[in-house]
């Protein structure tokens, strides 16, 4: 690899662009309900985690989010569990998603925070709009930390940490993917 500052910068721009294109395509799979195709983007040992937030004193933010693998989490799953969620929706009997919701996943403030040959760590913000039945509307906004692995020309998602900016969930359920 050529290591001039400019080529290194260019490589970063290209990588960020590729990641962004990947996320846009991923969002599109979810928003067009191609859930099984979405599963194909997940690493076999994916870790998918969304902690519960609580209100803490300034400077004592250590406990703001519940701990993975120890406390209550909105999600603390792997590939099997995510597959099960997809299959539940596909039964057509999962009334919380039948008829299935309309969603738009938006990704912003994307940064590649670290990358080497085997992994790419990214941070971003997400904004998800959900509308179901007639007027039921939810907004899910927060921060996402991902670990991607290069896979052929694309990526596989190896880990996803989702920090929802709500302590009391402002929606009746979490039937969607983040």
């Amino acid at each position: 690899m050529d290591a001039t500052p400019e080529s290194a910068f260019l490589a970063q721009v290209i990588l960020r662009h590729r990641v962004e294109q990947f996320y846009i395509a991923e969002a599109d799979l979810l928003d067009t309900r191609r859930f099984r195709e979405w599963l194909a983007l997940l690493d076999a040992d994916i870790r998918y985690w969304m902690p519960v937030a609580s209100n803490r004193e300034t400077g004592k933010w250590d406990g703001e989010y519940t701990r993975e693998g120890a406390d209550l989490n909105w999600f603390d799953e792997g590939r099997f569990e995510l597959e099960q969620r997809v299959e539940q929706i596909m039964t057509g009997l999962h009334w919380a998603e039948e008829p299935v919701s309309r969603t738009s996943h938006m990704i912003a403030n994307l940064r590649v925070v670290e990358a080497d040959d085997g992994r790419i760590d990214t941070h971003c913000r997400f904004f998800i709009y959900r509308n179901r039945n007639e007027t039921e509307t939810d907004f899910f906004v927060g921060k996402r930390h991902d670990r991607l692995r290069p896979d052929g020309g694309g990526f596989k998602i190896a880990a996803r940490e989702i920090f929802l900016d709500q302590s009391v969930l402002q929606a009746k359920n979490l039937t969607l993917f983040f």
Binding site: N55, E81, L169, N173
Partner: protein, 451 residues
């Protein structure tokens, strides 16, 4: 609106002789206001588990009715439940969901209260109040507290019977819930964090669903189709580790207090079924617990509770060991709080299996409870229409078929049971609700000269 005159609830909006209940009790604003006064201000309400506040100074916020409360353990180790409301102008004196503190300082004008609720600090006591403020009269408003097997309940009304009497004939079933898997009454430990979420339905939908609605199982067909079980193999419940090769009595238990329980009474074959073969530690734990439970409880080990509702707004689930509280937030919204617990003495592997299972079962991300939320919010909408409201809901299933004390005498107290599906539990619950709602409203005492 009702002013303590003629009964509007018993035999009126709640007509159990006909098995009918007006949809208005779920949607009416005036009825809701009466509920806060006549039910929430007078009942024992669940605030948390002792393991949430293990050390002196530990606190967590709770809710009673629509109001925030502080559930804490003071420096001497005593439990308190205070209205989280400054005596000066009502600001919340605690603004953090949990923590450890020896005092609660109000941010507005800085009145300071101790962890025992006393008003210990008032700025400008001399220059502003000229030392004329009797601080002993202005401590935090404190509720009566009862800790039952570590589950902490609080009540604002000193005339309400003591918690154990309030629990009444549910005691056998709630004791059963509080038992560890080995049948002893050891310690439970709450997992960190509280699930809190908002559902657009009246708070009573959850309470009645958990109290007796076996009938709604079809709504969980998708969960059964994909198989959700602690071991990832069979069944939907932890208690499915017991064989059901012969029939069980699937029972609805109502108590005269209006509390409800559900569960299964096994006949003779309820042998342990190895369920966790891929997890040796977990398998050993449950097999061992099963044997100890048999030895300790004898014939009573045949009872496997599934859960129930303690009037008015807390539902417990055996097996997934959770407490869900249906906090009223106006007639059309409920804020649900849910905690999960594990046997404190269990190996970490067991705790993790239970934790992982319950968060995938219940709560807003739980495969099962997601559908309940859909049901209740849609049912709530269905109670609101002008035309719809002219037509009562039907609560008549199994009317007249309740059997006292059946089928075994040792199932606790003066209970009635029906098998499989029935709405007797809901009828008992709303019977209690209507009786409480018919009580005269709270009358504020005239100001005393001394105040």
């Amino acid at each position: 609106m009702s002013g303590g005159g003629a009964r509007r609830y018993t035999g009126g909006l709640v007509n159990l002789d006909k098995g009918r209940i007006s949809r208005e009790i779920f949607t009416g604003q005036a009825i809701y206001d009466d509920e806060l006064e006549r039910i929430f201000a007078r009942s024992w309400l669940f605030v948390g588990h002792e393991s949430h506040v293990p050390e002196p100074g530990d606190y967590m916020l709770g809710r009673m009715g629509e109001e925030s409360v502080i559930f804490n353990r003071d420096r001497h180790g005593r439990l308190h439940v205070f209205l989280n409301n400054c005596r000066h102008r009502g600001m919340r004196v605690c603004r953090y969901d949990s923590g450890n503190s020896r005092k609660f300082a109000c941010p507005f004008h800085a009145w300071v209260f101790s962890d025992e609720g006393e008003l210990i600090g008032v700025p400008k006591l001399e220059s502003g109040y000229h030392n004329e403020l009797d601080r002993s009269q202005w401590g935090l408003i404190e509720a009566c507290v009862a800790s039952y097997h570590g589950y902490v309940f609080a009540c604002w009304d000193e005339e309400t019977p003591a918690f154990e009497d309030y629990l009444g004939d549910l005691r056998f079933y709630f004791d059963d819930y509080c038992e560890l898997p080995d049948g002893t009454h050891g310690d439970w430990e709450a997992f960190g964090g509280v699930f809190k979420w908002k559902v657009p339905c009246n708070w009573k939908f959850g309470a009645e669903n958990f109290g007796g609605d076996y009938y709604h199982n079809p709504s969980h067909a998708s969960v059964d189709a994909v198989v959700l079980s602690p071991a990832g193999t069979r069944g939907r419940h932890t208690y499915d580790t017991v064989s059901k090769t012969r029939a069980v009595h699937k029972l609805n238990i109502l108590t005269k207090e209006g509390h409800n329980a559900r569960g299964e009474l096994f006949k003779d074959d309820y042998a342990y079924v190895p369920t966790y073969q891929e997890m040796a530690v977990v398998e050993d734990y449950f097999r061992d617990c099963y044997a100890k439970r048999q030895a300790k409880l004898g014939e009573k080990a045949r009872w496997y509770g599934h859960g129930g509702t303690i009037f008015p707004n807390v539902s417990y689930s055996n097996g997934v060991q959770s407490m869900g509280t249906w906090h009223p937030s106006g007639p059309h919204e409920t804020e649900i709080w849910r905690i999960f617990l594990a046997p404190k003495s269990a190996p970490d592997e067991v705790k993790n299996v239970l934790r992982h299972y319950v968060i995938r079962y219940q709560g807003p991300s739980g495969l099962t409870e997601q559908d309940d939320m859909e049901n209740w919010s849609s049912a709530h909408q269905g109670a609101r229409g002008t035309i719809a409201k002219r037509h009562d809901f039907h609560y008549g299933m199994g009317m007249g078929h309740e059997r006292k004390g059946w089928p075994v005498s040792w199932l606790g107290g003066e209970i009635y049971a029906t098998e499989d599906v029935s709405e007797q539990n809901q009828r008992a619950y709303y019977g209690r609700w209507a009786r409480d709602m018919d009580r005269p409203p709270f009358q504020r005492k005239p100001l005393q000269a001394a105040e």
